[in-house]
Point group: C2
Chain length 336, copies 2
């Protein structure tokens, strides 16, 4: 096991009555243009899985290979390739049309299925007595991207295999934009390999996405197109009510945000050339959402009084009778 | 804010591929027959909300006042008074009959409603287009106990008020069995006050429940009846598939177990006169479930090879396609 050299720092507190009932520790880096760490909490060199926070990196080969243009993909499909969507009709309909347009079907996906995160959509499935299909998987857009690249490369059907050309291209892109050799991998919820890297490496990669210029070279063009597709379609990157969507809409400048399982979160701030990467050590999403909102306010890219900022940075916890019983807040000092 | 004097100790790890992706730190005490701490991890003096882990303490006045006997409550009702049930028909039906037997109705409860934890029951409500009622609240048995005591004391209807005789009796019982003055309170999910105490105090209280003898005195009789009711009805204390129910059934000796929100868990081992209390610092239930199962195995009250022990102590994490991708495990050294 790879333990952090520096202990994780307190980032988010869960208050109830006079005490913080629970606390989330974590690691965070803010990287400037050029990729150097300009601020850090905890251990910037901690090794972690970025999980879904690296989908924009996994989508680089899709564009660089020429597969995206050959398939006529536009910003909506590129945003979905980077998404952890909640399986609402605006997501599943577009992914289905994309896969069908490739001459393929839902059963060509290798992501598996889970109940959609969107409550209304999930309840509709339950009421109809239906089970979710692979299109509802939050990663189905990433997998439609994998299918598109795979058709272009004429690879075999099991495109999630570690030694498949699709995943080899993802690993190469990951190592190049993080500037590191990946020390290993795990299998993600959607069956694709997820490569280990340092938090510093992910922050550097996000700063690269922030500074990438369309037309500069093939990689920068791909990175800029993916970043701008995410910023143009916050509803496709996650869904109504979810942190990425609400906070991207709330920011006072263009920002791309992406959550990952087990408390990972990234931000890309193109106007400043800044990238953020953070990992909550215990894996809690509520801790990561509060911390990323707070860092965006700290940088001046989000107004602390915006309802969506308050929803994650100073979330009021209500109980079963609607009484205010506590709050989720950043630790003192994280904001400024 | 009351911070722990000693840092929380690593208790549970979430593995994926070659690394522990996330780790849960926490505090734990094992208290022997006179209430002294015989083993501890982290800070035994940490101040925490026991949340639903103290329901058997909140039920002491129900019996000691004579209210339970006056209402003819049996072990099933007493188990439900200590329960965080999942709102299945075996729970809601019994609570409804209990409240009706008092000449009261569902709208006399003050717990509020939430979707039942039992998936089958929740889906049935969604399919029927129904909303959950207060009977589905995991605390409805505790509140039926409050209503029973309140009728006996002829108190006013808002029995969850801090200065209501029902809650004053709960605070007195809490301070007496923990052996401490409570430094404050928070409002729980079900609107009742939840009193702060040290982990050591909760461990001492659980050792008291473990050693209590029916007939010795009024409090010991009440404690023994509640403990034995929980042990007799593991299905009423939580529900099918849930940690308390499965682990109580799996133990090789009588054990009462009770989870609490935000990563609290207690165990009462009457054959040994031992009580356990633990709190995961970040509030994660998965961390608390693994830690309590591990401590039961450590003490010899649970066989590590029992499927329910493995389910929490060495839980295999599978992904959307059923592939094994990781595991939830205790940190090395917690088991022995």
């Amino acid at each position: 096991m790879i333990r952090p050299k520096t202990a994780p720092a307190p980032l988010t507190e869960i208050w109830r009555g006079p005490i913080a009932e629970s606390v989330h520790l974590g690691h965070a880096v803010i990287c400037g243009p050029g990729g150097d760490v300009i601020e850090a909490w905890g251990d910037p060199d901690v090794t972690a899985y970025p999980r879904s926070s690296c989908k924009m990196i996994q989508a680089l080969p899709l564009i660089e290979s020429g597969a995206a243009d050959a398939a006529g993909l536009g910003p909506e499909q590129l945003a979905l390739a980077c998404a952890s969507h909640q399986g609402d009709p605006i997501h599943t309909g577009r992914v289905e049309a994309w896969v069908t347009g490739l001459g393929l079907g839902e059963d060509d996906l290798r992501c598996g299925s889970h109940m959609p995160y969107g409550e209304e959509t999930a309840h509709a499935l339950i009421r109809a007595g239906d089970k979710p299909c692979q299109l509802h998987n939050n990663c189905s857009g990433k997998h439609a991207g994998f299918l598109t690249l795979n058709r272009h490369l004429a690879g075999h059907a099991d495109y999630v295999d570690l030694d498949h050309p699709v995943q080899r291209a993802c690993l190469a892109a990951f190592e190049e934009v993080t500037g590191e050799s990946s020390p290993g991998y795990g299998i993600d919820g959607c069956s694709a390999p997820n490569f280990l890297g340092s938090l510093r490496g992910m922050g550097r990669a996000m700063a690269y996405f922030a500074t990438a210029t369309e037309g500069a070279d093939a990689r920068q063009t791909a990175a800029a197109r993916l970043r701008d597709a995410m910023i143009a379609h916050p509803d496709l990157v996650a869904g109504e009510g979810r942190a990425c969507t609400l906070l991207m809409r709330a920011c006072t400048e263009p920002v791309a945000l992406k959550t990952g399982a087990e408390g990972f979160f990234i931000a890309i701030l193109p106007q400043r050339g800044i990238g953020i990467a953070l990992k909550i050590a215990d894996g809690a999403t509520r801790g990561a959402e509060c911390a990323i909102a707070t860092l965006l306010v700290r940088l001046g890219a989000l107004d602390a009084d915006h309802p969506s900022a308050r929803m994650f940075m100073n979330k009021v916890l209500t109980n079963c009778r609607g009484l205010k019983v506590g709050a989720i807040r950043p630790v003192p000092g994280l904001l400024r």
